[in-house]
Symmetry: C2
């Protein structure tokens, strides 16, 4: 595995490659878990070369968010990537990615100001930070295919839209959410949970599963009643704070007017100081 | 000369090229004049292949601006490009470039909301429209070098900044403004001037030249007096409307606090319904 740490290094590496031949790319913030590994293994299987980036992107964190606290087990991550057979690890530091004031940003209208981007949640600056860093990484790596996990469904939609609107010409591959045996979606933030919090965290997924059942049942109900049902399941979690529960159109992320499939059911909660998100795509 | 009209066509063409070998790119809105030709000739000289795009970009025009009226002498342009020995002409229509609602835009903070981007001028949406379409074209063509004329100095700075911030890895080449023998900067909009307007239009450049002389003279003056001097030259033009006269830092485009070189002296005026811009980079 080659490790590169500056934009200049990866650009030089990229220029030396022949024009043909597929490059799979998995951008990550590190603290790798089975979710990441499933993306990386798939990228390896489908491409001649696999590039993984490891960068905790400051511009996608709000001033009150957990940038400093975000887990950074760099040695463990590097060993894992080497063992998995990744060809190139791109691990820049903040100064390498943002040498000066960042004047340029990529904005994806509509998709960024709902769910996790709502003013009452992380706010729209979060996803412009995500879109901007992914645009930078795409330009540096110039992959043929890039792999993203559906746990961050909204992020996937934003990147798909950016890729299409800006004619980036990359194939964006959606990969299923990987879960622990009790249903909790794998997330780097799970390591921040206390043992008690970890124990009740799967109720987030249980609430979404209940939502799926309701959406598929023949019984008609109002959106209000539907949300109330999900909410009451989530409220059985001790000390939970609900960030949002939303039922949205899977493409536009516009809020559904009634509980009907196909739809994306997404929720975010806080357990203590840790924020967890999950979603279920409910087909008809 | 190959003519391509869809993103898909140019992406396929680009993919077939070998990884090495330079590609020069000149994005234009057509209505080609000697200014464009100077860029194209330089691109030809410096690159193995030269691509010119021809696209009147609707999203950089305000609702009250001259999108409909913008000159589109397509046949003449095509003949000229063929004669100049361009390798590829990319001439998409609006539907090809914007098949759906445009949700994604590229914003370049600070540089876009001054001069032509000031709310009292064309407004900041103009340059986000420029940055967005240039990002799209860069992604489609993936040139090694791209050529821009300094008549649109602010545009050049915005594209340089975007290229750097988003790690696009393209060399942006600044090319000098080409002028008629009477000093008027070549512009596609010059054809919209009446004979009387055309006759007095060179006074815009004359006013900027006067500004350069003042900046280089040992006599101290206030910014207010300096602007007044330029303004009085411009006001000798019959029926002129002054959009702005600004002295700014050539890199940040922040307004200078006193009349001192190095600085960019830029002005925009309206003659009848036609808007003209020009600038002089004054070195020490």
């Amino acid at each position: 595995m080659i490790t590169l740490t500056t934009p200049h290094q990866i650009q030089s590496w990229r220029k030396r490659l022949p024009a043909r031949g597929s490059i799979g790319f998995v951008p990550t913030m590190g603290a790798l878990h089975d979710g990441h590994l499933s993306l990386i293994k798939r990228a390896k299987k489908e491409n001649a070369l696999t590039v993984v980036s490891l960068f905790v992107n400051p511009i996608q964190f709000g001033p009150k968010e957990d940038f400093a606290r975000y887990p950074r087990p760099r040695r463990k991550d590097t060993a894992l990537l080497k063992k998995t057979g990744v060809d190139v690890l791109f691990a820049p530091n903040t100064k390498a990615m943002y040498p000066n004031d960042v004047l340029t940003s990529v904005i994806v209208k509509d998709l960024t100001d709902t769910l996790c981007g709502a003013p009452s949640s992380r706010g729209p600056a979060h996803f412009s930070g995500v879109a901007t860093v992914v645009a930078k990484l795409f330009n540096l790596v110039r992959p043929t295919q890039a792999y993203f996990g559906l746990k961050d469904y909204q992020q996937v939609r934003i990147i798909e839209q950016m890729n299409e609107d800006l004619n980036m010409g990359i194939t964006i591959i959606r990969c299923p959410t990987v879960r622990d045996s009790d249903g909790l979606a794998r997330s780097s933030r799970n390591t921040l949970l206390s043992p008690q919090e970890r124990k009740v965290a799967p109720l987030l997924y249980a609430a979404l599963q209940r939502g799926r059942k309701l959406l598929r049942s023949p019984r008609k109900m109002s959106l209000r009643e539907f949300r109330h049902q999900i909410k009451s399941t989530l409220l059985t979690i001790p000390n939970v704070k609900i960030d949002y529960i939303e039922l949205v159109d899977p493409k536009t992320l516009h809020k559904c007017e009634s509980p009907r499939a196909p739809a994306l059911l997404a929720a975010a909660i806080r357990l203590g100081t840790t924020r967890l998100i999950d979603n279920i795509l409910v087909t008809r």
